[in-house]
Symmetry: C2
DNA sequence: CACGATTGAGTTGTGCACAACTCAATCGCA
DNA sequence: TGCGATTGAGTTGTGCACAACTCAATCGTG
């Protein structure tokens, strides 16, 4: 019984890991046309929403550190989708903004959410509930990780 | 309304991605003592359960291909935790088995599940439900990804 | 039996994630 | 004001994940 109980967390963690990778596969297929990876798409999503953001803020929104973001943003810059410039009032900070091409990509990206939603096969209510459960779980795990 | 709906899948996917990484952080801390990464721990879990397995079967159980498993297993072999040998009746197949050290590690690993379970802050019933939802989601996504 | 197709591991190359680190800019307080 | 601490980006190194590929072993069908 204790053993039974102890196995559950392994299963939940593995289920999470597997679901996350399965989502990655679906996004990979859908994003191939746009030449984007899923994390790159996430960065563009926050930029489409906010216009421009410092690297620091992007990291907070997406839960990513500079070790991940710096090379990723460099690739987006090379692809001509974003610009990076040092902030005038704090030379430590770098502001990321969309280029014309980056802005234009938004229209093509607007077809994506529906395709993903269809792939999940879930009704919106279930999606909302699952999302909230996962958010609570993430918060609990963040609190537990020192 | 349509817009509202279309955002949900992004949120569920991001929530999943974030939760998976948050779990990774917790496991990283807990597994540091054992010198293991989370995927390496998963491999040992299936070996502890089954004794020995062909690489192919490990890949099916963990949803990983040889491009991921081959170097991972090589690291576990270098660490002295597993052995690899070509199967006698099918020379293409490689059988992975635990060494004494790999077997012995199980005892130290048995403390881990409880620590993880505590970190989630979830009652067992919630864990079961979430696990099942995620499993169904993964199945739906797998069916959608060609 | 022979030979083309398939299968199982492994390799190579790209990108993400994170730890540990560097370095310059900024902050804050004695 | 001056200087030690902190902050924001970036770099380096390790490992996972996956695509695309190689290669040998095995299978299956004529």
């Amino acid at each position: 019984m204790s053993t039974e109980y102890l196995r559950l967390d392994q299963q939940i963690c593995f289920a999470l890991h597997a679901a996350s990778r399965a989502f990655g596969n679906v996004y990979r297929v859908v994003l191939r046309d746009l030449g984007l990876t899923y994390p790159q798409y996430l960065v563009l999503l926050v930029l489409w929403e906010h216009g421009e953001l410092p690297v620091k803020r992007i990291g907070e929104l997406l839960r990513l550190d500079s070790g991940t973001l710096s090379p990723l943003l460099k690739r987006l810059e090379t692809a001509g989708l974003v610009d990076r410039r040092r902030s005038a009032d704090d030379e430590r900070s770098v502001t990321v903004s969309l280029t014309e091409a980056g802005l234009a990509l938004r229209e093509r990206a607007e077809l994506i959410p529906r395709r993903i939603a269809e792939a999940t096969g879930l009704p919106p209510a279930d999606v909302v509930e699952l999302r909230d459960r996962l958010a609570r779980l993430t918060a609990a795990l963040d609190a537990a990780a020192p």
